[in-house]
Symmetry: C2
């Protein structure tokens, strides 16, 4: 039943019908007063989600575009950059920084683990000329989440720029740009924002804007200054993705209705309850400790004797639930369940029930019903 | 009647209902076999529109993004670039080239005029170390169109890369990438492709791919190599704008049904007939000679005593037709009517009739009916 496939992956995430409908309107002139009014509201609402007083730029791009924008506005060849890597998306910062000719130092955690504040402190002592530190909040490839608040406090003390990938964390986890001292925060539309992919968001602090002034070859397409100048007039420097912005306008209304605190709490409750349910089914979590777990995505090891492709195939073919495989070295080693964005309790309960049915079909020995039971209990009590 | 507003601007252009509907489907996994199948067909069909054997990359970006991609894959700081400028979008190439530290030479034509092949020859003789020449096919800001075929023949002889902005020309005018020796050709979704904005397209010749190999700081997001590698596996290196790709898939079916030759012919017939109708109403065209005119966009001088804002206001408020103002120095000096993309004869006739009614209301003295009459005659005879 192809049309019924339900996405429990870390993006694209499910999109509300009203958002899809808004994005299917006939386009209007992107320099018209009507469109400027929409952008005005969008720019305002995004600041609430980012928890910042800084402007938030809207790019026609995917999240990687905003990551490029983050580095291509502040780095010059030869600048030292420290990349905190806990998985593939942390590694992406390394590649982008290298593409700009930066001197890249890497502080790496084992897959499933996170960066320890003390290790960051040591690295910054070793390399006091570090201009920028990149970090991933929720690492989609492993399901681990860094303690951004503690790490950014250390980075701020060093004077370096704190550049945070909030692509799958925004909405799913508290991420307080101004309070935590994040200098550049990026995200993407197909995640907690409940939109299809194609928009990326970036907010830059005053310190980051000052670094932009000293950038020799700033990105033209992602240029902070061009976007800031346009934003002040409620427009964009280049043609915006008009229909996706219609969708964003609608999605932000829904997000405001629920409120960022409640949205954060829902994601936490879902992710932690799911983790308990997984344990109850006798499966092992890839991120061992709940305190290191992302609330956007949960990575699970298959039981011995059953392989990941079989689990994903049965889930999709028999139950129309799409979950993600591991990436690169983790391919076929883990599978990942997204609980990000437009996901309700029924979706989560259905997914766990379908996973139970799948494991049962594939011969995993466990107390049938234990997953759903544990999930329901945890959802009630947390 | 806000909902009835009809776009006769150079983009966004009207979008067929079936394309809007396709783009309002629930997103699917962008690494799923179903989505790869869609991309496979899209990549194949785009080559027909670009008239090339080279792969065509699909970016989640607006047209300016692809222009950045074009230069950010081949230029190194200090490289000499010759920019042929006939308006604002030609000027954009200058800005992007400078943002990469290139030495930029400019060959400029007066607004409304085009580049003469002999002037290009002289410039290339003066600067034999020119690495790349940028040119605009259809210059949206003035309505003039360069003779890309002749210009590219000269560029090819010089050994430089011929980099063409086909953003508003593709579909509207013949643009034969391989036959004419275009090394990099870019376009955008919200133009002849009958889609909302948010996708950009780029094709690179073998010579351009070789230049990429020597690029010191290639763009990460728009990287030719990353996109080529992904394309060979019917995927994209970073998350594609899934729903816009659904729309593109549908739009390419419609374009194939009509056929590129017929689509080109329709745009030519519409633009040249419109030009005759404008003359019949006693108005002056900004691009004097038909041989220099774009078939995507027609720029018109207001009659003396009537200003551009009044014409645009009455057209929009009373007749729900949106036409474009001039840009920058041409603001309020000209108005521009787009005949690009999903425009049928009825739309064109309606627009001219509405323009007649507008001019009549505003007191322009002319033979009422002459515009529509001339248009109908020309549409029949051409």
């Amino acid at each position: 039943m192809k049309e019924k496939t339900f996405l429990m992956i870390p993006g694209p995430t499910p999109v509300p019908q009203s958002v899809l409908q808004a994005s299917a309107r006939h386009p209007i002139g992107h320099r018209s007063p009507e469109f400027s009014q929409i952008l005005r509201e969008v720019f305002l609402d995004l600041k609430e989600i980012f928890q910042t007083k800084n402007p938030v730029f809207v790019y026609a791009a995917s999240g990687t575009g905003a990551m490029c924008g983050a580095l291509e506005n502040v780095l010059n060849p030869g600048d030292r950059v420290l990349c905190l890597v806990i998985g593939n998306f942390g590694e992406r910062w390394v590649k982008i920084a290298k593409s700009r000719g930066a001197m890249v130092e890497v502080l790496q955690a084992d897959p499933g683990e996170v960066i320890h504040p003390k290790d960051l402190e040591s690295m910054l002592q070793k390399f006091p000329d570090t201009k920028a530190v990149t970090l991933t909040h929720s690492e989609t490839s492993t399901g681990a989440a860094n303690d951004v608040k503690s790490l950014c406090a250390i980075i701020q003390k060093s004077g370096a720029l704190a550049i945070v990938d909030g692509i799958t964390s925004l909405c799913a986890m508290p991420c307080k740009m101004d309070e935590w001292g994040i200098d550049i925060l990026v995200s993407g539309s197909q995640k907690g924002f409940m939109l299809p992919p194609g928009l990326a968001f970036l907010s830059a602090s005053k310190k980051a804007m000052e670094a932009r002034e000293k950038c020799l070859y700033p990105s033209f397409y992602f240029d902070f200054l061009a976007h800031q100048k346009a934003l002040e007039k409620n427009t964009t420097p280049y043609t915006p993705a008009v229909n996706l912005v219609f969708g964003l306008h609608e999605a932000l209304k829904l997000l405001k209705e629920e409120g960022i605190e409640k949205i954060n709490a829902r994601h936490k409750r879902f992710a932690l309850s799911l983790r308990q349910a997984i344990r109850a089914m006798g499966l092992e979590l890839f991120v061992k400790e709940d305190k290191n777990a992302s609330f956007a995505i949960t990575s699970i090891l298959p039981p011995s004797g059953i392989d990941v492709p079989s689990i994903r195939r049965v889930l999709k073919e028999d139950f129309d639930v799409l979950v993600a495989n591991g990436q690169n070295a983790l391919e076929n080693k883990i599978f990942r369940i997204g609980t990000l964005g437009y996901v309700c309790e029924r979706d989560l309960i259905s997914a766990v029930a379908a996973l139970e049915a799948t494991l049962y079909k594939l011969g995993h020995s466990f107390a049938l019903g234990s997953g759903v039971k544990t999930l329901i209990q945890n959802l009630k009590n947390t």
